[in-house]
Amino acid sequence: MSAQIPFFDRKKIFYGIIIAVVSLYIFKLFQMQILAHEQFDAKASGNSIKAIEQIALRGVFYDRNMKLLVENTPAYTVRITPAEYDTSWNKKIETILDLDNGFITNMLYKNRIYSKFIPLRVKRGADFSAIAWIEENSEHLSGVDYVIEMQRGYPFGAMGSHVFGYSKEISPAQLKKEEEYYQPGDLIGSIGLEKKYEKDIRGVKGYNYILVDSRRREVGKYKEGKNDIASQKGNDLVLSIDGELQKIAEEELAGRAGAVAAIEPFTGEVMVLASSPQFDLNQFSYVTPKDYLRQLMGDPLKPQFNRASMAAHPPGSTFKLLCAIAALDLGVIDPSTTLYCGGSFSFGRSFKCHGAHGSVNVITAIEKSCNVFFYQLIFKIGLDRLKEYATRFGLGKKLGIDINEETRGLIPNSAYYEKIYGKNWPRGILVSLGIGQGEVNVTPLQLANYCGLIASDGKTFVPHLVKGYLDENKKFHSYKYKEVNVGIKQEVFNIVKEGMFRVVNGAGTGTSIKISDIQIAGKTGTAQNPHGKDHALFVAFAPYENPKIAVAVLIENAGFGATWAAPIAKKIIETYVRRTMPKTAVAPDKKNVDTQLGVEPIAD
């Protein structure tokens, strides 16, 4: 064919291309590094564009009545830029900022792997006097500056330490996983709602482009800030928590170890989730002072432990409601079935009741909290069928509430006992299970949810702390939660609720909290505690005809449920009903109860 190029020339062409390209590059480098060096040098040491991150404002928390629970308040943050800092100032700065001795040395050492030009936060929420001192000495304090950053504030007065949670500076391990968004020194939700809703409330970081010189000193805005990207505030959360009730619960629990959980029946909205003792969120966030941490760790009551959703104790007599529901639903008893209580029950050994109740039906058994009735009932139900009902009512399983701090608790089944004792496990174990003692373990949150399910005839939504969020235009968007339906016959609920009504309004174990114009239905419980005094329990819902609140109260090592737990539930219910349903509260007692006067209320 045509126009062949001889081999020799082809090699020459290769030589030509290589030499031409390298020469071109050398020429270009000569031009850049020698001829135009001054201009580039001026650009490098004079002006360079640097993107400065603008931290977004975290979303705030409102309660169900749009009262502000968690807000952002401006505070001074003191920072040190390691590359410019003179460490001989350590002692002085530590004193002024009230930091632990050696804090700065330690901080510089921990951050030695990061760029020495990124400022490190030494103290958030510094006093004004400290800022004044830094301002006065700014000439000598190179590499020390301060900025105004937002801190969390709790204006309502409800502490909510376990629910709200706190943010901490991101750890290197977390940073590795989430490096596309976070930078060293950024805050990230650590527990509670601050952690669970981190992605919703953190907002979107912005960037300001500024001109800096080679020592990163700011010399002006790049293009007058035309290219800046404003940060976007995070979404504000609207909680289902009722600030006032939460505050009351916290005050009532003060000085004790215990928990209160309150849920709105039918909706699953958690109105109260209080755990005591609490800890100070203001102290705990960001960098916890060593002394405070030592104090918390040393406290035998473990203040950081969220008792409301993590403390699993035997439910005591509050469990009898579940046994009654299971037995009625399975048809092993009917409302007219009576069992005889002579004051004790023999099964290998003697199991006691608190009184001889004679022949009792299920309603009276609940009202009087008759142990012998339920000792017999559990044999009729069977352990595995009981567990199945417990699971339907959310006992002994994670409910999926929107904080991570939740435990499962335990409802044993026959497989469980077989594992421990072998095939022929002693059936005597069952006796005490019937009255909620022994290996059954449930959390106060599970009890409130269970009581709420009884109140709402078995229909609700997965319990949750957040109703929805407000977008930037303050428009409300609700979160969707899974529906729950336990699928039990309506008559069963009517019977059990009747029993619960009589506990408070009849001749039952909870008559001490009876209020003439608010109909409360409840059940007392006392969980035997092999390590000390019994735990007091109480579950209740109100109003009886139109349930709006279900409460569970746990007071550890207190004694009888009726004495210690019930009054707290009463106070919460009364406050809530009087505030939200003033008409219902004054309505006359519609229900007639054949009050058996003369019978002393018995604590079970």
């Binding site: 290589i18 201009q39 490098a44 792997i113």
Partner: protein, 409 residues
């Protein structure tokens, strides 16, 4: 000096020392650019270890019989095509392209290996006695061998590596002795494609250019017609191909066409890279003293923008030294191409030279602002274990061919 002569006779010290010096300079630049970072602090140590392993492999490849390369051509090509398919499914996405395969703690880019495999297989095909590049059928077979890995790499999509393969294909066809007409057939669709990227007017001008060339060669009407159709198709294909590209690559192409389009995104890197090199001056700012480098104004300085570290901290003297090392390496390797004992090995040398050269061309051109920002490492210098390993392997092949040049076939 007889001993030294004998050594140089079997072992081309010039080539080996140039590459070694480049690795050492690379290590210095990697250390300088990562010592202040969080996540890349270990890169210097990793690169040092990779170099140690690469040297073992280099000496192994250097010592094996030269016939091995011909035998390995077909299996390694098939294997590399399979790897390129696998990476599309299980590959890890880094920087917008699904181009990495990871197993255990080790990860590599199949495209790196495919470069060598394609060189071996294409050289094998071109060096057959019956291959005739005046025959369009053989040109198309050669194109198919070269375009298969390109197509797969475009799907990742990894623009930088695709350029290297285009370079290999053109260089080998040219070295084998393709006619000017054949070259026009191979090149014109590419020219039309690039032209159409700039807009419809450029596309029309390029098509007219093709028509003029076809008229000049006076081939029969059927052949000319199909070549014209191929060119038009290439122009339209580019529009679709542009959409396959990842957003960051689209942005980079836009930035190249109009550098002011995005001064803070892709353009920012290009500007900062030039500032770093330009501010280095004649002697440079000194090791560990480049403020652009130390303040991390330029991303990925230990890989794609490593030349900026050299330019800023070692100045014109340092950059010139690196360019001269590359020049020596290229010219010395090209000289060997005519000493190889058969055509296959000669083609292999040219193929490897092309890989080194295109990497150099694109990487340095990008750093000094002559070419658009395309992520591709600088051979022997940039951080990257699998890249260093394959480069040292290819160096081993060159030195092997030099060693065995006087052996009988």
């Amino acid at each position: 000096m007889r001993i030294s002569y004998k050594l140089n006779d079997r072992f081309d010290l010039t080539i080996f020392l140039s590459a070694t010096l480049l690795v050492v300079i690379g290590l210095l630049a990697i250390y300088s650019s990562t010592q202040n970072t969080i996540l890349q602090k270990g890169n210097f140590d990793k690169q040092l270890i990779s170099w140690g392993i690469s040297l073992f492999i280099f000496f192994f490849i250097y010592s094996i019989p030269a016939q091995t390369f011909k035998l390995a051509a077909l299996p390694s090509y098939i294997f590399s095509i399979l790897l390129l398919l696998v990476v599309l499914v299980i590959g890890r996405k880094i920087g917008g392209a699904r181009s990495w395969i990871a197993f255990g703690g080790f990860s590599f880019q199949p495209a790196e290996f495919a470069k060598l495999a394609t060189i071996l297989f294409l050289s094998n095909f071109l060096s057959r006695a019956e291959t005739d590049l005046d025959n369009l059928k053989d040109i198309f077979i050669a194109l198919a061998i070269g375009m298969t890995p390109i197509a797969l790499i475009m799907l990742e999509p990894d623009l930088g590596s695709s350029f290297v393969f285009i370079g290999i294909l053109l260089a080998l066809l040219f070295w084998k002795g393709i006619s000017l007409f054949g070259l026009a057939v191979v090149l014109s669709p590419g020219i039309v494609a690039v032209a159409s990227l700039f807009g419809p007017i450029y596309f029309v001008v390029a098509i007219i250019f093709v028509v003029v060339i076809l008229f000049f060669f006076k081939k029969d009407i059927f052949l000319s017609g199909s070549i014209l159709a191929l060119n038009i198709a290439a122009g339209f294909f580019v529009d679709n191909f542009y959409n396959i590209l990842s957003p960051h690559q689209q942005k980079r192409i836009q930035t190249f066409i109009d550098p002011n389009a995005d001064p803070l995104g892709s353009g920012y890197n290009a500007i900062q890279a030039k500032v770093a090199i330009g501010s280095g001056g004649f002697f440079g700012k000194g090791f560990l003293h480049g403020n652009q480098t130390q303040l991390q104004f330029i991303p990925e300085q230990w890989t794609d923008f490593i030349f900026c570290v050299i330019g800023e901290e070692f100045g014109f003297i340092g950059s010139l030294f690196v360019l001269i090392l590359f020049l020596v390496l290229f010219l010395r390797v090209l000289r060997l191409a005519s000493f190889a004992k058969n055509e296959f090995l000669s083609l292999v040398i040219v193929g490897i030279l092309t890989v080194f050269f295109v990497h150099f061309l694109v990487n340095v051109g990008m750093a000094i602002g002559i070419l658009p920002v395309i992520g591709i490492p600088l051979p022997f210098v940039s951080y990257g274990g699998s890249s260093l390993l394959i480069n040292m392997t290819m160096l081993g092949i060159i030195m092997n061919i030099h060693r065995s040049r006087k052996e009988s076939t």
